[in-house]
Symmetry: C2
Subunit: 202 residues, 2 copies
């Protein structure tokens, strides 16, 4: 028989297994059987730790939300200039996706966005927070002269989040044929150079 673990350890095992499998199988196709096999326990064991599949998904959502929020806080704390902070915010997002490739798929999954109303609102708020961080630092960049005032910070923020999503999609569709973070940061610098152009010509 298999080694027993305290409930808390096993719970994290299950959540990690789900995150791994969600990338291969897809969030909406993942079954409790798949998860149990990956963890190395019987299917019934999953339900000892999570009363329903929906509550398992809630736990996964919570883990993701905490990780993202922590990564952003760290990015902001470790840098001082608006431009460095902006780059760090984007880099953090790319790193999170690289570490958990299923992240975009889960964020847009029906499991979370249709079935789980609480989690949907949680993520909506989280993404608005990210957008707010971007806008704040873009405003800072306009103030310190590293960005043109011709582009509204809100629009610039949309362009940047789109960039991250676009690269992530290209990365996963192209079977991860390139390193996500370097390629993402390279394109970010292209965009930031464009943002700076307007200023230079003055």
């Amino acid at each position: 028989m298999l080694q027993r673990k305290p409930a808390e350890d096993r719970k994290t095992d299950i959540v990690e297994a789900l995150l791994r499998l969600a990338d291969q199988i897809g969030p909406d196709r993942l079954t409790t059987n798949d998860i149990a096999r990956e963890v190395g326990v019987t299917q019934a064991a999953i339900f000892r730790h999570f009363p329903t599949k929906a509550e398992l998904w809630s736990a996964v959502g919570e883990v993701i939300a905490v990780r993202l929020a922590e990564a952003w806080q760290q990015a902001l704390a470790a840098n001082t200039t608006p431009k460095d902070r902006l780059r760090a915010l984007i880099a953090a997002q790319l790193r999170q996706i690289e570490a958990t490739p299923a992240l975009p798929a889960i964020l847009h999954s029906r499991e979370i966005n249709v079935d789980n109303v609480i989690l949907r609102e949680r993520f909506r708020g989280l993404m608005m927070q990210y957008q707010a961080h971007l806008v704040a630092n873009l405003e800072g960049m306009i103030a310190d002269g590293s960005m043109t005032p011709d582009v509204r910070p809100q629009d610039a923020a949309v362009l940047l989040t789109s960039l991250v999503q676009g690269i992530a999609i290209r990365w996963s569709l192209g079977s991860r044929g390139f390193a996500l973070q370097p390629e993402g940061l390279r394109l970010l610098d292209v965009q930031l150079a464009l943002f700076a152009y307007g200023e230079r010509q003055r």
Copy 2:
């Protein structure tokens, strides 16, 4: 009892129903029962027209591929300058998504990208074709002076496709709270203005 239709008409009914439902229920969660109810026939009737669910998805993929290719051809044919053609290509894409909101979800669904190898390659080729159109017209813009030569056309194309995807995601997550095409074109013009900056300062 229900009115009978020639097979060809019914087939398109079924495909249209799937496209409508894929948006609400999700491509990977859609069942043949859901589709049958939407069309207004019994579940078994679906299998009279499509031998398997996978072949139904193939038909859906084919319809999407044809529509996209046609929209691009039309966009290119109706315009002459590189900049107008570029705008038309983006506008066409936004219009397609607005008409078929399930389109992004289907393009990234496991149904097509994991199960259906033929269709996956078909879409990969299609997207590369779109990218090629964008690059060609961006090169034209550099040549006619409406774009800076400082940004590689390939990079600019990635920024633009990301923009479309990003807006589409924001549109669907925000419960379609804004008009997709106008907002998309507005942001496109912001980006195109940035692309032109480098040139202006010369």
